[in-house]
């Protein structure tokens, strides 16, 4: 499909030049017509460029919405961290730094493979596109797997806040409290931790599903140099979800380590 289109663009201008100078004026007209009849072009857009712009802007606007959505939780985090610094530091130090750090590396690397997937789509490399999308999905699943291990550890330590799991109420006996920390406020940290990482994980799952759909269409050769905005805007989303994690990691895992480990 892609090949046929590429051949078409090659032949058309050659023929026109054979017809002589009089047709030169029409050449630009045909060029616009060419994108205006692309099979991926939706009826209400004038051309692919307009459709691409709309798609990209739409995703940016959506990401602005997402920032505000997470913003409410970041505000709550900031407020209670200021109010209960010792409790937050104690609870934070109970999280697994190695697992969190590995997950951060996994996500940053997945952003790299995602960027390569977009690049391959733009340059029309179909096989590379599929490989990089697959890698990105795999890294996303790795992240979710590690996250699940962490959640399970918290479950074992009875650190699931409130009555989220009614049979296993919150009990911070396993958390090493800094002097002066009130155990009742440790729960607040864990609820914020679960709310923020949980919401992030839901976004990761959505991302994995979206990328799987994109990979399916990429395998059928839908994306090439002329039309690749679905790959691009899914990439934007994927990077955004990564960036949320880049903020979550230091705020939740690295908080007040010097207090516990004498830095």
């Amino acid at each position: 499909m892609l090949g046929r289109r590429a051949a078409g663009t090659g032949i058309l201008p050659n023929r026109l030049s054979e017809l002589g100078e009089t047709v030169n004026l029409a050449q630009s007209h045909i060029a616009t017509d060419h994108t205006a009849s692309h099979p991926a072009l939706q009826h209400h857009f004038e051309n692919l460029e307009q459709q691409r712009e709309a798609g990209a802007l739409g995703m940016w606007v959506f990401l602005a919405t997402e920032i505000m959505f997470f913003g409410g939780m970041f505000l709550a985090y900031t407020l209670y961290r200021t109010q209960y610094p010792l409790e937050f530091a104690s609870a934070s130090n109970h999280l697994s730094l190695p697992l969190g750090a590995v997950n951060t590396a996994v996500l940053i690397f997945s952003s790299f493979t995602m960027a390569l997937a977009v690049y391959s789509a733009q340059t029309g490399k179909r096989r590379a596109q599929i490989v990089y999308l697959g890698l990105t999905i795999l890294l996303g699943l790795t992240f979710l797997g590690i996250k699940a291990i962490e959640y399970y550890d918290k479950y074992k330590d009875q650190l699931i806040p409130g009555r989220l799991i009614p049979s296993r109420p919150f009990d911070p006996h396993g958390v090493h409290l800094l002097p002066g920390a009130n155990p009742r406020h440790v729960e607040m940290f864990y609820w914020i931790y679960f709310a923020m990482t949980g919401m992030h994980a839901i976004h990761m799952i959505i991302g994995v599903v979206v990328l799987s759909v994109i990979m399916f269409f990429a395998a059928r050769g839908r994306y090439g140099p002329e039309y690749h905005n679905p790959v691009e805007i899914s990439g934007l989303y994927w990077h955004f979800v990564d960036i949320i994690w880049i903020f979550l990691f230091p705020l939740l895992y690295l908080l007040g380590r010097h207090l516990e480990h004498g830095g």
């Binding site: 709309a54 802007l57 009555r163």
Partner: protein, 554 residues
């Protein structure tokens, strides 16, 4: 009168968006923004009716000082549900989702919104949220007040808080998607020649509204979600028992819900700008000021939420800053009012129904805005907080403002939407009835509130009865004034006089296509060569409104 040339060809004009396809499926699966606007129109009308029923019970209960008609618990539920239905399911989607949906592409010369499928999705999301909310109301209702304040909502209330919250949460996403669609459409889909400063002011208002929709709505979404989790699983982010702070909920709630007032009134201002300019047959006075004041209101609107917390343990310094900022938001609002008034000066005004609504809007919005300044003043607010003065104030903005603008806009674009004229005599009559009924309902509430009558009680001291009797009488008149247009608008869809493409003889792009428009809006891509509200002398109109081909040939 010289007609403005149109972008329609007479031969194909018979096929329009209404008769292009038939059958229920063609409506429920439509991606046409005009049909989706009608889907919204039908559903928000239903919700308005339900919310109106609750209002009727409130006014009947308050007719007498004793709490005799409804028990206090039932009364709590009735005013809560009135608020939730009217705000989240009528006022917020009212103008943007119906008139905005219909007109944004038409006014900028596009074939549709940028994301037609997302547009349809937004209606289904709205409907899902609405159905869940209605289910919650039928199952037992909610008594927290539309504000969902914790810890009452999260811990103590014995009503359907989570289900109602879920309904509001879900319907919020329809608002986000509508805003997203508008922003992208206005940025990327304007017709050739439709520059930013040629956009009708209706578009500027919707652009500003959309900014609030996409930036404010997610905040209330996460807030309600956290509140619901707190109720279900006792994970306390707002609960003092676990070290939480209930005032944080109020901050987060009003961070959306104050700007939400501008989601309701900004589109109304957009409608009124259209009506004032077009029925004065004159370019609007200070176009750029009116355009940018919409953006200014959207920006300032995000910085004033703290004036809802003057008596909620907020620091007095924060209170002073929020008070100052609340005064500041009056500036762009006043710019609009002064510019509309200046537009009327020496204009050839015609007093058709839409114009009557627009003039009513200016007066009532001014009263609503000025009383808002009373409430923004720290010391005065301590006296007026949670009294009927507040109730009267925001009804002047939401009913006197938004509802009047909505009705005015509906009449104004009715010929474009349905292809039929509404009966003008009945229109003017009902506009007058609405105006009288509205003022009789809410003016007495200012006085009762100033004298100290608190809101949200089903019984009150007998001294206040006279104001409440007046108010209930006014509400009955208002109700009649709203039923009349409902009947004649329905009637006109079948029996009304057929509308011409441009029945008001106006230059706007939406009037240059058939009434009702074809599915693709314009049969040729329009090329805009005129300014907004350009009522030029006839000889200059010769060059207006050529087809793209003709211009390219020239």
């Amino acid at each position: 009168m010289k007609a403005f040339e149109t972008f329609e060809t007479p031969t194909a004009a018979r096929v329009n968006y209404i008769n292009a396809e038939y059958g229920l499926k063609s409506w429920l699966l439509t991606k046409d923004h005009k049909r989706i606007a009608l889907l919204y129109l039908g559903s928000i009308s239903a919700f308005f009716f339900i919310g109106g029923l609750y209002a009727m019970f409130i006014r009947l209960e308050l007719l007498t000082p004793q709490g005799d008609l409804l028990s206090s618990t039932t009364y709590n539920k009735v005013f809560t549900q009135h608020g939730i239905i009217m705000i989240f399911f009528f006022l917020i989607p009212s103008i943007p989702a119906t008139l905005g949906n219909f007109l944004v592409p038409l006014m900028i010369g596009a074939k549709d919104l940028a994301f037609p499928r997302i547009n349809l999705l937004s209606w289904y999301i709205y409907l899902l949220g609405g159905i869940i909310t209605i289910w919650a109301l039928l199952a037992g209702g909610i008594d927290t007040g539309w504000t969902f304040y914790v810890p009452y909502s999260s811990t103590f209330s014995n009503s359907y808080v989570v289900a109602t919250g879920l309904g509001v949460f879900i319907s919020g996403f329809s608002s986000i998607l509508t805003g997203l669609n508008f922003i992208v459409t206005i940025h990327t889909m304007r017709a050739p020649g439709m520059t930013w400063f040629r956009l009708p002011l209706f578009i500027w208002a919707h652009y500003a509204t959309s900014l609030i929709m996409i930036l404010g709505t997610p905040v209330i979404a996460i807030t309600i979600l956290l509140m619901a989790f707190e109720r279900l699983a006792h994970v306390g982010i707002f609960d003092p028992a676990t070290g939480g702070d209930p005032v944080l909920f109020q901050h987060l709630f009003w961070f959306y819900s104050h700007p939400a007032v501008y989601i309701m009134v900004l589109p109304g201002m957009g409608v009124v700008s259209e009506l004032i300019a077009n029925f004065s047959r004159k370019n609007i006075f200070g176009y750029k000021f009116v355009a940018f004041s919409s953006l200014a209101i959207a920006v300032f609107g995000f910085l004033v939420w703290g004036h809802h917390l003057f008596v909620a343990s907020q620091s007095v310094y924060a209170g002073m800053i929020f008070s100052f900022l609340s005064f500041a938001v009056a500036i762009p609002s006043a710019i609009k009012v002064f510019n509309w008034t200046a537009t009327l000066y020496k204009a050839s005004i015609s007093y058709d129904t839409p114009m009557l609504y627009a003039l009513g809007f200016i007066g009532l919005f001014t009263i609503g805005g000025m009383t808002g300044l009373f409430l923004a003043a720290l010391a005065v607010d301590v006296h007026l907080s949670d009294t009927y003065f507040v109730v009267a104030h925001f009804h002047y903005i939401m009913v006197g403002g938004t509802l009047l603008a909505y009705l005015g806009g509906l009449h104004y674009w009715w010929p474009k939407i349905t292809g039929r004229m509404y009966p003008e005599g009945w229109g003017r009559f009902s506009a007058l009835v609405v105006f009288v009924g509205f003022n009789l309902t809410f003016l007495p509430q200012f006085i009762a509130g100033y004298l100290g009558m608190p809101r949200r009680y089903h019984a009150y001291p007998p001294e206040f009865q006279v104001f409440n009797v007046l108010s209930t009488a006014g509400a009955s008149i208002l109700g009649v004034g709203l039923v009349i247009p409902f009947i004649y608008l329905l009637w006109s869809m079948r029996y009304g006089k057929r509308a011409e493409p441009n029945p008001w003889h106006l230059p706007g792009l939406e009037w240059r296509t058939a009434s009702p428009p074809p599915t693709e809006n314009f049969l040729a891509t329009p090329v805009v060569t005129w300014e907004a509200y350009e009522f030029a002398p006839p000889e200059e109109l010769e060059v207006i409104g050529k087809f793209r081909e003709e211009i390219e040939q020239a």
